[in-house]
Symmetry: C2
Subunit: 717 residues, 2 copies
């Protein structure tokens, strides 16, 4: 009975989120589209984004179908259900990304128009509402997708399963859904990341450095590609990243809960409780989105943060009340809240290392401004060093959240490991519960960034530009917090998945293979697995960054060619060929993304097959450790370099007067820092999150296969 209740609440609140998102979408779509110039500029961005999405989704669909067929063939028993789950997971993820990009590209000219006609407040509302479409959509789709799949495979009458046998290990099959979500997310995040930084680097290098034309200048052939990049990288990419962490967290908790249900048969289904908790977060997010409604004259920044805080508190209250109402131990609510606090803490420390405020006397970014005054090398070295230091509080926060939720859970009645590890997964679900609101605030960032570009290119009034600048500033803060949140979310989700992987090995005893009870790091095979796992994010980041470099090389050649062949472009008399740059960014991003993805998946399977299941667990552990360090280093160093440049460009910077030779020298150095940071923070760093989820799910999903091939191989020697 309570299974139906939990699934009902999950699917119901998921549908609620989706409907609210669609309603807001309808409202945004009705808003004024601005003057012709704005519409024209914005249409270019919209077309560019669609053409990327089209190419990417075509390739993704082919990839998905091939993999689905392979899965159906490889898994003898439940191949078809897993393949269907996988296919639906991919589809849902693509749909979420598509809607996000549609609304974002529609919203930029409407935000610009609102800024031009009504000023700050109306512009903020349009932009934030548009962002919330993406936020509520991903929260809703996760709940509806997971909930209805569960229903489909479990609660439908037997008559439906005449062709496909009804699967037994249910959460393992739903792993297919999560795997679909995460492979699409990897394409969206890493592909979008390569796209956006290819355009950004190229536009900056030829535009700003070589020809000294301003950012977003319509004379730059890469200007539209740059704006498209914000949408496909920051909106669709980040949305897919958070969505896939959320699905993975719920899945991990579900697998561990199913273990509890099997061994202890509690009164309530612990396998479905995570869906219920996630549903509470979705409801809190819907309420939170409506509470972000600044009055005329109010500064939007604090209102945005207030919305996030209120959502957090609402969720905490809902969780406590629900747990009490269900007669469960408060420990469950406690674990969820610990996860939430860890997310807030990681977001806060990312902000310390990337904003100009710092914390108390510790001010990394202002220190980096001083380094920039010395030399480019000093700026790179200090950004890198502070990036390394920024890893510390986040990792300690994650470790504490993990240990504390484990110790709490060990107090449940299911034994230390079962209860403890379940609560670690619940902490991950808790951290991600408010993802609807967090993503709303995040997606707002690229929308206002784009609106600023539209306004600049449409040569609107000075006041409108200032209003957009203000919106942009509050968007940047939100973005820094989300980035920390996304890393924390994927880290704890991956730790939970790591436990779920170990739990899943238990199911192998039906085929006569022993499940794992320990992952012994003192065993050289496991240690070797861990060392190899640590290499995966290392190689992946290197390939992505080199990919951006290679791809931007192509685009730089193209921009220079256009400038050379038609001097009218720089003079402003003829229009550059934006489409050529868009095409280069699109095809290059997909080409550069493939090798890293295939290497990651292949090495995961190969490690398991050659060194065995325990070494594969070591592999996952090593990947998480190295991945966390590299992701935090690159995200935060990149953010800090970005803000160093922003400070030097701002009127508050007084060491050198703007426009003087000294100022130009320092500014050029800060541009170098920002250019190094761009692929760090927008391509490689955040893609590692998704990569970790993908390889952990690869290990979990293909577990029976890996185990069998390994046993066969071991039999040969």
């Amino acid at each position: 009975m309570s299974a139906i209740l939990f699934l009902g609440v999950a699917i119901g609140s998921g549908l609620l989120s989706i409907f609210v998102a669609l309603y807001i979408f309808y409202m945004v779509n009705k808003a004024d589209e601005g003057d012709e110039k704005m519409r024209e500029v914005s249409a270019l961005i919209e077309d560019g984004a669609y053409s990327f999405i089209k190419v990417q989704y075509r390739i993704l669909t082919i990839f998905t179908i091939i993999l689905a067929v392979l899965i159906a063939l490889i898994f003898r028993d439940f191949g078809i259900p897993i393949a269907i789950s996988y296919f639906l997971g991919s589809l849902a993820s693509m749909a979420a990304g598509f809607i996000g990009v549609v609304v974002a590209t529609k919203a930029n000219r409407r935000t610009a128009a609102a800024a031009a006609s009504g000023g700050l407040n109306p512009a903020f509302k349009v932009a934030f509402r548009a962002g919330s479409v993406m936020g509520l959509m991903i929260a809703g789709i996760a709940l509806v997708g997971l909930g209805s799949l569960y229903l489909l495979w479990n609660l439908l009458p037997d008559i439906i399963f005449v062709v496909i046998p009804r699967p037994a290990g249910l959460w393992e099959i739903i792993t297919g859904f999560s795997f679909g979500a995460s492979t699409v997310a990897l394409f969206a995040k890493a592909g979008g990341g390569i796209y956006t930084k290819t355009a950004d680097l190229s536009a900056d290098l030829v535009g700003k450095i070589e020809h000294h034309i301003p950012e977003d200048d319509p004379r730059n052939p890469a200007a539209v590609a740059d704006a498209v990049g914000d949408n496909v990288g920051d909106v669709a990419g980040t949305g897919a990243d958070i969505y896939d962490s959320n699905v993975a967290a719920i899945l991990a908790a579900g697998i561990l809960g199913a273990g509890i249900d099997l061994h202890f048969a509690p009164a309530l289904p612990f396998a479905l409780l995570p869906l219920m908790i996630a549903a509470l977060g979705a409801i809190a997010s819907v309420l939170g989105v409506f509470l972000v409604n600044p009055k005329e004259g109010q500064d939007p920044g604090p209102i945005l943060n207030m919305g996030t805080y209120i959502t957090t508190i609402l969720f905490a209250v809902f969780a406590i009340v629900t747990v009490i109402a269900l007669g469960l131990s408060l420990i469950i609510a406690g674990a969820a809240i610990i996860g939430l606090l860890a997310g807030v803490f990681i977001g806060f420390t990312s902000d310390v290392f990337t904003s100009d405020r710092g914390f108390a006397g510790f001010k990394p970014v202002p220190k980096m401004v001083e380094s920039a005054e010395k030399s480019a090398a000093n700026l790179i070295l200090s950004g890198y060093s502070y990036g390394l230091l920024s890893v510390v509080p986040s990792v300690i926060g994650i470790a504490i959240a993990m240990v504390v939720s484990y110790l709490l859970g060990a107090g449940l009645e299911f034994g230390e490991w079962e209860g403890g590890i379940y609560c670690v997964a619940i902490a991950a679900v808790g951290l991600l519960s408010t993802n609807g609101m967090i993503m709303s605030a995040d997606a707002y960032g690229p929308i206002v960034d784009n609106a600023r570009g539209v306004i600049e290119q449409a040569q609107a009034s000075r006041e409108a530009i200032i209003a957009c600048d203000k919106l942009d500033a509050s968007g940047n803060t939100a973005k820094a917090i989300t980035k920390g949140f996304a890393i924390g979310a994927s880290a704890i989700s991956v730790l939970a998945l790591f436990a779920a992987y170990i739990e899943s090995t238990d199911t192998l005893n039906i085929v006569g293979i022993e499940g794992l009870t320990v992952v012994n790091l003192a065993d050289p095979a496991v240690l070797a697995g861990a060392l190899i796992g640590a290499l995966v994010p290392v190689v992946f980041s290197a390939i992505l960054i080199l990919g951006v470099e290679r791809n931007s090389e192509r685009m730089i050649t193209e921009i220079r060619r256009q400038f050379d062949e038609d001097p009218g472009i720089l003079a402003g008399t003829s229009r550059p060929d934006y489409d050529r740059c868009i095409a280069i960014a699109t095809s290059g991003s997909i080409r550069e993304l493939m090798p890293g993805t295939l290497i990651a998946i292949t090495v995961t399977l190969a490690t398991g097959v050659i060194l065995g299941l325990e070494a594969l667990a070591g592999f996952l552990g090593g990947a998480v450790m190295a991945g966390l360090i590299l992701a935090l280093l690159m995200d935060n160093a990149g953010g800090a370099w970005d803000n160093t440049k922003k400070i030097i460009e701002s009127p508050e910077y007084t060491t050198y007067e703007q426009g003087t030779d000294d100022w130009h020298r320092v500014h050029d150095i800060s541009v170098t820092g920002d250019m190094v940071g761009d692929p760090f923070k927008d391509t490689a760093g955040p893609s590692i999150n998704t990569l970790l989820v993908v390889i952990t799910l690869t290990a979990t999903l293909f577990l029976p296969l890996i185990a069998e091939v390994h046993a066969w191989l071991a039999g040969l020697f």
Copy 2:
């Protein structure tokens, strides 16, 4: 009986190495010191190096005495023997470093003089012989130190132990010796690294970039400090690093061998076999050094490499013959040779990523030259990415060496774990066996680098400068190979020590605490330990790099002050105040080094005390993983940036003509890359090796204490 034989061979060959080193020292000292100008310049370097050594050793001596007293007090039973071992270990390490610096600073003017009077060949001989003093010295001291300590505590008659009780767990006490060696090495390597890069960065920034005066120009107030840095960082620092890895490898194998002796009582003492193997390497190195004797007209580079190869082959032959003669399984010799091969492989791959040759079609450094032609950001990004990729082959090499030697050893008659893990440690001993020869080739590098500086400053003939340039080039290749070797050596030593740590927990059962049998990464406390351990090299590198930046800030201010206050300096009419720069480098390097070292040791102890012994093992595992990645990344990226600059400065570079504006732009960019790479490759990267040894030894040495305090803490809750 065979115990006496092994110890006798070890001490004997150690003494042989030391005597040969002293004899060569005497020969080098007799060589022509050059004209007055050379002697004058060189005397400045010599004085500067002594003043650094004096300050550093004073602080080190105080540190050592305090720690020795603490150890004597903390360890109730064997406090005094451990303290004595520790003190002797520090002393021996300091002595080795001192002799290296003395001979290097004496050799530079003699090499310069030989180049001026006799050309390439005589100059090579002086420089290489001087380098071999350091090489043979560290190989000899390790053998004599460990061998005689063992003798002292074990084989002396009981009458001597009337005051101090004769210790039981012998290798555990000798851990004190290794701990002494590694703490000194950390000071030497990290302190020397901060010193040398402070001077280098400052001299380059004010000299090359601001005033366009050449490298090593005597008008630069930091010129002497820069030359001193080469000696204290590269000779003393690298020597101490390799020495401490060697001692640690022998120790780890000794501890694991003692476990075999205890449980299986084989015919030969497996605890002493590592000393015997190391002794064979020392003999091979002595022979190798004498074989490096190029004839007139021969190119010294290939002869240098030939010496290394011959030493390697000699050792392999000695090992096989000895193992057969002793009636041991050939598996032992096999493991040692696998270690050796791993070292060669890692050296080779480091060379691929840092030299202009590359490997087949894969040419990272030439690619980086192309990046430099685009922008500074491109150069930084590609260097960082190739640095990341360079981690891969080395780590895979280490993993394979570990697994293969383990599997080989599992075939011995002592059971899978005991035999397997012993052979991993033997692989480490094998890798390091030829350290005498490797270090000889390495120390030759800074000597010829300095000789080039002396010749430049002494305004010698063009031919002499060209001869020194040639020597310098072959020195750089040797240095790249050694760096890879040093990382591989410390990595495998630390893996062996990691096993020795686990083995050591067995001794705790005498105090009623259970030893470790597994290190379960699936246990959240162990995973948390691993995450915290991964942070240690992260924080340590950040602190060192920020330390270099802070310290160079002080020196830059000083150089600018001197140029401002006395225009005669730049005009070449008055002499700069070299001593002020030397004093800044000296005091700053020690000040900046302390926090990182104390944090590393404290966190190691705290993790063990709070989370327990198993989590502490996880901590060590996490530290090794993150440490290996960061060390290889920084070493190789730094080396690649250095060589990118060298290519652009060389006559072979033809894209832009030297001296044109375009060439200057690209060259300035390459200088930025080199400046970023300097603290990477000469400060932070190589210090991580030593750091890993220090924390693993801290865990092993203080194991009983940590276990007791943890048990007491656990009792409180």
